[in-house]
């Protein structure tokens, strides 16, 4: 799921400086799972901001809320009354949530309280690692279920570069070489012959991300 990290409090204080009353809104989906933007974090951040502003002698009133899913307009709509009563909104949902709120309420400033990082997996408690870059053109069937686009520092599609050493990437011994992992995995599932298969130039542009915001239209679901 989408992983985010809270912005430094000083940065948040900086853009909230002109306001006396705001709505701080989280999201109970992905960002709650990564302990950065859920209900609990709304409370913690609100307390921190109130305290900091009190110290600065410029009190900040903060309404708190947390959307079920901030990327869905019907859930964002539920915020309307609270939004009407404040001067600005601080959202600690991912970048999608921030934009859904901004798109819904055209006459109020919406600020991000987190930096949206990546789509990743929880590898252990408190550790999240990027796994997908949403390239729009999945190659996981060719690579043993391990993504070279998200996990190789050079996004190579035809095997490890010469810098792969004892399972590590050339840029850092702590970073596993994605293609060593792909190699080992293909071997384990009896598909090592895929390593010899040439993967031609990827269609990054035509089918993937470089055409402005990508859109999926499902006619069968439209009203």
């Amino acid at each position: 799921m989408i992983k985010v990290e809270q912005k430094p409090v000083d940065e948040i204080l900086d853009f909230l400086e002109p306001y006396n009353k705001i709505l701080l809104v989280g999201c109970n989906a992905c960002v709650a799972v990564c302990h950065a933007g859920g209900e609990k974090e709304v409370g913690i951040l609100a307390a921190a901001l109130r305290m900091a502003r009190k110290k600065l002698g410029h009190k900040l009133e903060i309404l708190e809320d947390c959307s079920t899913r901030q990327c869905e307009p019907e859930f964002v709509e539920e915020l309307r009354e609270k939004v009407k009563s404040v001067e600005a909104v601080l959202s600690i949902a991912c970048g999608v949530g921030v934009q859904t709120v901004a798109g819904r309420f055209s006459d109020i400033a919406v600020y991000p309280g987190v930096n949206t990082q990546f789509m990743g997996e929880t590898t252990e408690l408190g550790v999240w690692v990027e796994r997908c870059q949403a390239c729009g053109n999945c190659v996981l069937h060719l690579t043993g279920g391990i993504c070279p686009v998200a996990r190789c520092a050079k996004q190579l599609l035809n095997g490890p570069c010469g810098g792969s050493q004892e399972g590590s990437c050339e840029i850092d011994k702590e970073i596993p070489c994605a293609w060593q992992q792909i190699h080992d995995r293909l071997k384990a599932i009896g598909q090592l012959d895929r390593m010899a298969q040439f993967i031609p130039a990827k269609k990054w542009g035509r089918e993937s991300r470089d055409r402005g915001p990508r859109t999926i239209v499902r006619e069968d679901l439209k009203p």
Partner: protein, 307 residues
């Protein structure tokens, strides 16, 4: 002839080829290129011009290659996929061949985190094997990548690539070579060899698959200057391993620099006898003035003149 380059002619004639390497200046000072070029003149068949190696910003490989041609030396233009998308790559290949560049080396390139622009965004629109496929398509099919559009003019270029027998996973290294051959590579220059046993093992796998008959393999060597350099390279340079006994030999030598050249010459002598090795690529990094001595002592002179 695919390119008519001197390097291609020598390799096609079955002669043992010698290439050197020249790193362009970190600026536009032509005299740096001139000075290094004169150290190499007469000792090599062609000179690799590196493309922002280790991600350090330098004069472009195309420009420095062109300067070499003006001085009657043959370049092997290196090109990395790190810094260009397929539009820039193909455009640069048009330009390079128009300037008379007849050899190129297709590389992925060191990661930008090694260089002096660590905040840059790498491109890798293509990888090195896709780059080989791209150049071969342009040259042999006469179209640009992806199909129909014809190239105006005719591309004459000898396509090279690197191979690193010292990278992991070891068993994949020959498969990767086979992929490069399948994509259309004409010649290979290997990573610097220090671990001769592992190199021999790799070459055995290459010969077992008959790959040495499908591509010209040039073995890469770099003379060591000191035990410190050896230790540093072993630890820090990606894709290079230096066996302990070699480091010890350098450490014990009264004159390490001369010992380094001696080791290099011994390696070349051994490589000359190895089945499937068609030449050596001598990377005397910032030691270009030793190229005369190395090639002389390794019995590589005079370089042949071919027509």
């Amino acid at each position: 002839m695919k390119s008519g380059s001197n390097l291609e002619k020598i390799l096609e004639k079955g002669l043992f080829a010698v290439t050197g390497e020249l790193g362009p200046p970190k600026g536009n000072d032509i005299s740096v290129v001139e000075k290094k070029a004169e150290f190499l003149r007469g000792y090599v068949d062609a000179v690799n011009i590196t493309d922002n190696q280790t991600a350090i910003v330098r004069m472009s490989s195309i420009a420095a290659s062109s300067l070499l041609i003006q001085r009657d030396l043959e370049p092997v233009m290196q090109m990395v996929t790190r810094d260009r998308n397929r539009i820039a790559i193909q455009s640069d290949i048009f330009g390079a061949t128009a300037l008379g560049i007849r050899n190129m080396l297709c590389l992925t390139g060191d990661h930008q985190s090694f260089g002096n622009q660590i905040d840059s965004k790498n491109v890798h629109d293509l990888d090195s094997i896709q780059l080989i496929d791209c150049v071969r398509t342009m040259r042999d099919e006469g179209t640009i990548l992806g199909g129909e559009e014809e190239v105006e003019g005719q591309l004459r270029i000898f396509i090279g690539a690197a191979a690193n027998p010292f990278g992991d996973p070891f068993e994949f290294r020959v498969i990767r070579l086979a992929k490069k051959i399948h994509a259309g590579v004409d010649f290979i220059q290997t990573q610097c060899i220090y671990d001769m046993n592992r190199f021999k093992e790799w070459m055995q796998m290459v010969r077992d698959q008959g790959l040495h008959e499908k591509v010209h393999i040039m073995a890469g060597v770099t003379p060591l200057k000191s035990a410190g350099m050896a230790r540093y390279m072993n630890k820090n340079v990606s894709g290079i391993t230096i066996p302990g006994e070699l480091i010890d030999r350098m450490a014990k030598a009264p004159k390490p620099a001369e010992e380094g050249i001696k080791i290099c010459v011994e390696q070349i002598e051994e490589l000359k006898e190895m089945e499937g090795i068609h030449g050596v690529h001598i990377m005397a990094i910032e030691w270009e003035h030793k190229m005369g001595q190395i090639t002389e002592e390794a019995g590589l002179l005079p370089r042949p003149t071919v027509s």
